[in-house]
Structure formats: structure tokens, C-alpha cells
Amino acid sequence: MLRLLSLLLLGSALALSGCASKVDYGDAQARETVNTDFGSTDLQMIAAKMVDDMMVFPPIVQMTQNRRPVVFVDRIKNKTTEHVDTESITDTIQSKLINSGKFRFVDMSVVDRVRQQLEYQSDSGMVDQSTAAAMGRQIGAELMMYGNFSSIVKRDGSTKDVYYKFTLKLLNIQTGIIEWTNEKEIRKTRSKSLFGL
């Protein structure tokens, strides 16, 4: 009787120790499948495919052979029903492209702050003019990066299927020609089943 009790106690101690919640760091590049919403793995897959494809497209290879074209990022239109931070996707793409050494970027989101700094340097009288940055010497962008992000969600009983499509385009602002475009499609399905079969 005593042995049975001690065995039960041991068993319950082992089982209950698993009930404490635990916080730990995970691998940022690991596959995340918490639910079918837009997730970190989707963002990484999209950025990786877009950059890989852009860098081997022959006209782009030709364009970047001897120089680094200047690009500005417009925006990715979020046409899904979820809240998706599309600027985060373009930030990753921009980071990979700059680090490849093939492209240069201008940032439209800091124009006002840069103008403030330039005005301070030239007009305030506090900055040594021989070290001040000159106004009117910024390099003009020649390519515009923009795109669309859409999804198709279908539900039927216990099955939910989400299809994402991310389209990215590179437009030459002088000629109006789309120099490069590509898409990434992602499908995530959630199915509930009995007994995990």
C-alpha cells in the first residue's frame, strides 16, 4: 500500500512539474506555426525569395554590374483582412539589398527631419560652414519599389485555408517601365482532427 502511494506521488510530481509555464528564447529563423495569421516565417520567406530573384534577373544583373542604382521604397498595399506591418517586410528587403552591395536607397520617411538638420547646419549660425552639409546635393532616386499583399481565406467546418500572395515591383520613374516584378505565394492550412490523426 505504501509502495503504491509513493509510486503515485512520484508519478504525479513528474506530471505536475510540466504545468509550470516557462519563458525561453527561441530561434528567430525557425518555422513558426502558431496559427494561420501572417507570421515571422512568412515575412522571412517573402523577403528571401524577392531578393534572391531580383539579384539573378538578367536585366537587373546588367544594371548593377558597374554601378549601384538608387531606389526609394514607396509602399506595399495591404489588401488582406489582417493587420500586417508591410513596412517591416520592405525594411527586411531593403536591408538585404543594401548588404548585397548591389543597390543604394534613399529614405522618403526622414525627408523632413533631414531638412530640419540641413537648415540648422546652414542657417542657425552655430555650425562651422566648412563642415556643414550642403543643401541641394542629394542624389535622386531612379527606381521605385512598391507592391501589393493580398490573401484569400477559405473556411469549411474544421478546415481553414489561407493563401497569401505578395507582389513586388521595381519601376523606373523616368521611363515609367516596370523593370522587375515577382510574386511569392504562401499557403497555410489549419485542420482540426480527432485524436490528432
Binding site: L7, L14, R31, T41, G101
Partner: protein
């Protein structure tokens, strides 16, 4: 009473099985004028089931562009993840956190080609890592 002990043993085994760590297998390709494929693995099951059938490489612009054909030697479906790692001539890994693990599901005895582009022109060597 006679049933309790084997049941407890089974319960313990089941709990501990969930604790096993994911093992990694690794395929390395060396560049010394010729390409050699070696499989390094702590997961002998995975490495014995995947083989590299074909390896193609070319330089696009000045970036390394790799296509590897993986073959599933097992007769059942194999579900695993792979990642390319890139190294420069001094052996430093390029963009160590740049790529996610990509999922691939291969039907029994099938071949699948995987492609990747180097993150920057200084990458001259690569490794393909696989894990469950």
C-alpha cells in the same frame, strides 16, 4: 495493481520521448576545384534518407547561384527543413541570421531541387543544413 506498474512505465517513457531534441544533419559541399558532397549528421536517420543527387552552380553578376537536387531515398514521405549557409574565403559565415529554415515535403523516392543565391559577392563556399 498488476496493470499499474507497466502503465506508469509507459507514461514515463511517453513523457520522456517528448523531451528528445531535434537533431540536425548537414551536407557540406567543398570547393577545391571539384565539388565533394559529404554528409555530417547527428541524426543518422535523416542523413541516411536524404542524398544529394546533383549540384549545379553558376555565377550571376558576381553572386554565387546554387541549385542542388535532393533525393528522398526512403519509400515514405519525408518532411524536413533545409537552409543554405554561405562562407567567404576566410571561412566567415555571411549573413548568419539572413535566411529562414525552409520547409520541404518530399514524396517517397522523389527528387526535389532547391535553389539559393548568395547574400553578397564575397561568399565563395556554401553548406546545406537539414533538420527535422
Amino acid at each position: 495493481m498488476t496493470l499499474l506498474r507497466p502503465m506508469l512505465a509507459l507514461l514515463l517513457a511517453a513523457m520522456l520521448a517528448a523531451c528528445s531534441a531535434t537533431n540536425m544533419g548537414r551536407m557540406e559541399v567543398d570547393e577545391d576545384g571539384e565539388t565533394i558532397t559529404k554528409v555530417y549528421s547527428s541524426n543518422s536517420l535523416l542523413s541516411s534518407r536524404i542524398s544529394v543527387q546533383d549540384l549545379k552552380q553558376k555565377t550571376v553578376g558576381d553572386l554565387l547561384y546554387i541549385q542542388a537536387t535532393l533525393e528522398n531515398d526512403w519509400k515514405f514521405e519525408l518532411d524536413f527543413q533545409y537552409k543554405f549557409k554561405w562562407f567567404d574565403k576566410d571561412g566567415f559565415e555571411q549573413a548568419p541570421e539572413g535566411q529562414p529554415w525552409r520547409q520541404v515535403v518530399m514524396a517517397g523516392r522523389s527528387q526535389n531541387s532547391v535553389q539559393a543565391v548568395a547574400p553578397n559577392p564575397s561568399a565563395v563556399r556554401f553548406e546545406i543544413w537539414v533538420r527535422e
